[in-house]
């Protein structure tokens, strides 16, 4: 269909139909047709509807091509993240190892303390028992000393046993605490992955 509007009418109508285009595209198209009308006559043009449709089609194709290019960039972005992870590994890996060693050391130290205190308890109990037994050898010489040694020995056995029982409960508590901490840590790690 041919255009039946005057030059200025055509340009005004075209601008209205291209209002959804980006500023630059619209300005360029209008400049082109304005320049054409300087020399050509309005009758040479197609209808405003047809002219606008052709311009909009062309811009849609260009926009689509741009979107496709952007999608390709998305692939490159993923590559960057992978590269970053690879380069971060030399830092992250030693950090993870250090953390693991720290946890292990804490457990070892705790076990050593428990062991030492436990041994003390056992030594006190055994020493007390031995003292109590030996006290009977002086029963004829000095019954007072024998009684004192027996009391001291039994007292030591009592203290030793108390320490052992206390250690047993502390041990159980520590094991329970560590397992809970580790469990929570692993759970959170699992969720993040």
């Amino acid at each position: 269909m041919k255009n039946n509007l005057s030059g200025p009418e055509f340009l005004a109508a075209l601008e209205k139909r291209l209002r959804l285009l980006p500023e630059e595209e619209r300005r360029e198209a209008l400049a082109y047709y304005a320049e054409f009308l300087e020399e050509g006559s309005p009758e040479e043009l197609d209808s405003v509807e047809e002219t606008a449709r052709q311009i909009l089609d062309q811009c849609a194709v260009t926009a689509l091509e741009k979107v496709e290019k952007k999608e390709k960039k998305g692939g490159i972005k993923t590559l960057w993240i992978v590269l970053l992870a690879v380069f971060a590994a030399p830092v992250a890996l030693p950090l993870a190892i250090a953390l693991g060693v720290m946890i292990l050391m804490t457990v070892v130290v705790a076990a050593a303390i428990v062991f030492a205190v436990g041994i003390t308890g056992v030594a006190l109990a055994l020493g007390g028992l031995w003292t109590a037994v030996l006290s009977f050898t002086v029963i004829a010489v000095s019954p007072v000393n024998m009684l004192m040694a027996l009391g001291l020995g039994l007292g030591l056995v009592g203290i030793g046993l108390l320490i052992l029982i206390g250690m047993f409960y502390i041990c159980r508590g520590v094991v329970w605490l560590i397992s809970k901490l580790l469990g929570g840590f692993l759970k959170r790690g699992g969720k993040n992955a």
Binding site: L45, R53, Q54, T62
Partner: protein, 106 residues
């Protein structure tokens, strides 16, 4: 005219005109419409497409107080023109063969 030009051929024809020198919108239209039935609404998108794909550049030149936009072919455009030229020759020969006539006489 009985034949319609597709986008590829339109691109090739515009590049062909520009191969002979820079030209501006109205003059290009006149040159094209002298040979092909093509409307202004078809030609503008062709120019935009060629510009966006880097086959031509534009520059503005004031002529008697008014601004005139000139179109100029780029190296990329020249490359594409050469490709079009060989493809067209092959295409023309193939069509000639299908149509028969001149070639069959030989």
């Amino acid at each position: 005219m009985a034949f319609q030009l597709g986008t590829e051929l339109l691109d090739a024809c515009v590049l062909g005109v520009l191969m002979r020198g820079d030209t501006y919108g109205y003059s290009l239209t006149q040159e094209m419409t002298r040979t092909v039935e093509i409307s202004e609404s078809t030609l503008y998108p062709v120019l935009q497409r060629l510009k966006k794909s880097g086959c031509l550049t534009t520059y503005d030149c004031p002529v008697s107080g008014r601004n005139r936009r000139y179109y100029s072919i780029t190296d990329l455009g020249r490359e594409r023109y050469v490709k079009f030229r060989t493809q067209w020759t092959e295409f023309k020969e193939a069509i000639d063969h299908l149509l028969g006539g001149i070639d069959d006489e030989k």
